[in-house]
Amino acid sequence: MDVTPKYKGSFVKPLKALSHLFREPVTLPMVPRPASDNYRGFHVNDWELCVGCGTCRQICDNAAIRMIHIPGLPDDPAAGLKPRRPAIDYGRCCWCALCVDICPTGSLALSREYVHVSPDMNTYFILPDEKGIHGLNFPKGWAKTDDADLLDLARQPMPQRDPDSRGDNFDEIVHGYDDQAAILEASRCIQCGMCHEACPANMHAPEYIRAIWEGDKERAVREIYRTNPFPEVCGRVCTHRCETACSIGKRGAPIAIRWLKRHAMAALDDERVRTIALEGKVEDRTGKSVAVIGSGPAGLTAAFDLAKLGHAVTVFEAKPEPGGMMRYGIPEYRLPYDRLDADIAVIRAAGVDIRCDSPVGPDLPMDKLRDDFDAVMLATGLGAGRSTRVPGTDHPDVKSAVALLDAITRGESIDVPGRAVVIGGGNVAFDIARSLARLQRKTSGRVDMTLVALEERDHMLADEEEVVEAREEGVVVLNGRGPRQVVLAGPSDKTLGGLETVRCLSIFDEEGRFHPKYDDGDVMLHEADMVIEAIGQASDTGYLGEDLTEALEWARGRIEVGADGATSVSGLWAAGDMVEGPDVIHAVAAGHRVAESIHRFLGGGTTTLEAAE
């Protein structure tokens, strides 16, 4: 192609071009200028702090964040740890930093790095790295600060009676949240769902917390009843695994999920609760019958589910009232009987026939139940107390905590000891110490109650609030002491003198095995008129009879069951404390599993109440 003279340029042009050869280039290198301190560059995430809750993903309006499963990371729902981390799509991110401001752990921040050039689109979708997108360790730009934090880390205080007004009676200690406190507490929730996965019964806590926040308590109760027929009980005494896993609890106080459940239940009258709880109940009867032995949380949960599915359910309870350890083990100041009765009334309203004073045994043998019913469930709990069996524990004034709590519930007359020592560091030990302290104050106006626990203060098995409240009520808690012997008042005096304890230096060995080491030079005598043992509980399965005991498979002393609670004997299930150890919410979860399994066994297919809703 010919070039017109106009574009040919001057004849000196080549010389001009040569002159450029030695000039500095005008293009800049790809090294970014330093950004300001608060610059919002690429994300950085501290993987040690991050729990994989996904709150960053939820808040992102641009859908720029996805949670990616990372094999090998800790996967522990009970501790609130998920093996996933956020990946950012920088084609969508607008650097608003809401993900940083909402992050409950404070693991997410933005670096001051802002340049990324690549023809490969995939490189714009990345897992945040602690060192930044290019691993260049740019300093942090935007990070969470107190004034930018979107979370409220402080819990709404629970109003409760002071020690002076509660020390001589069994009235419930907590008053419950009012509407304002409940809404404020619910508003702290970030809806991450870690609580749902930590709960053994997988309660829909995010949903009912949201309903409370929106002021819709009927919906809250409906959400609660999807998975738990003991909301009044669990709103008071649940071991609240949900709160342990709560993301807010990583830096602040976890959401008071248990107290919010209590609030929702208190807002509706019993009749309305009953109507909501029985929604979805199958009206057609299946013609099948199920016997449940034991009316604790596992037995009654299974009974409730099965009754709602149309089966005829009869519960056989040995004691005068239903509820198992919820009634005969937990003092009323923690769980008022009328609230337990409210939960049980709903279960009865579903059609469950609860027969009290009906122990299975010689008058009502297992064989007859297995003949008369299409399926049988064992849920008899851990009703017997363990003894330390140190010398002297066969003295008549050495009592079992479980037996004493049972007697208090029954309203039996108890010789209240002027001075007492409780052995044990779990909730049962505190239950009996605080109950007897109340009776002491009531009868003599003074408390002389000592609790000795092997564990040190930081490793107590009991809930923290139990320890704090017991001390407020006058119980002397001595940690790191093991029982050595029960002593008599004198060489020729057969009355109880007290308990001798020895300093426990450590409970576990280097490998975490129970191996208490004592300092024999540090011995104390705790003078007492009664010693109460509260170290553990045992199951009494004598009612099964020899033949059935032989037919069943056992593992480590417990009836062996599958994941659905089915035993090795056809038509027989077992669940609850007798299988898993003591815990209400675990028992509720096990009750659901058993009900589902029995329903299938009876020809009900795979339909579950949750799925039917």
């Binding site: 069996r389 060995d509 129970f514 399965t541 593992a555 480590r556 002393g557 150890g581």
Partner: protein, 171 residues
């Protein structure tokens, strides 16, 4: 002034009386394990099924120990020392007490069985630790140390199980 009875109050005659050959010691230990194994096997027939697994495990552990001692006795290196005489610890009577296995009663529960088994392992551990102390440096000392550690390990396993069952709301 030195005591006319020698070390402490133990006479030379007593010391000689407390000297046993390695063969005797290993035979006593094997008898100890064999008696325990038989004891647990017989107990398994008396207890209810929920406890039978525990008792059977204890019997199997004693059997394993017996075979361990048997292998030790028949090992060429041990055979070379088999006639050596070793000072037997003062608490030997306690070890022997367990060889005779005091009665546990007709219907022991899991706690009683575990307490008994732990006591027994403890006595065995101390016995072998004392033997290791008095044995000359070399393979014999190593053997007794190994046996002592073995009993201690088993006692540790039993203690963990005891805690789970008795202190943690087991059955």
């Amino acid at each position: 002034m030195s005591s006319q009875h020698g070390e402490g109050h133990v006479s030379a005659k007593d010391r000689l009386a407390r000297m046993k050959s390695l063969e005797e010691i290993l035979n006593t230990a094997m008898a100890f394990e064999k008696t325990a194994q038989t004891f647990y096997e017989q107990l398994a027939g008396r207890v209810r099924k929920p406890l039978r697994e525990l008792v059977a495990e204890l019997a199997a552990e004693e059997k394993r120990h017996y075979e361990l001692f048997e292998a030790a006795r028949d090992h060429p290196e041990t055979e070379a020392h088999i006639r050596e005489r070793i000072a037997v610890p003062v608490n030997d009577h306690r070890f022997s007490d367990y060889v005779h296995m005091p009665a546990l009663g007709d219907h022991p529960d899991d706690q009683a069985i575990l307490q008994y088994a732990m006591g027994r392992e403890h006595a065995a551990h101390e016995h072998y630790a004392d033997l290791a102390e008095s044995a000359p440096e070399g393979p014999l000392k190593e053997l007794f140390k190994f046996l002592s550690d073995e009993e201690l390990r088993h006692k540790g396993d039993l203690e963990k199980r005891y805690y789970e069952i008795v202190h943690s709301g087991g059955v």
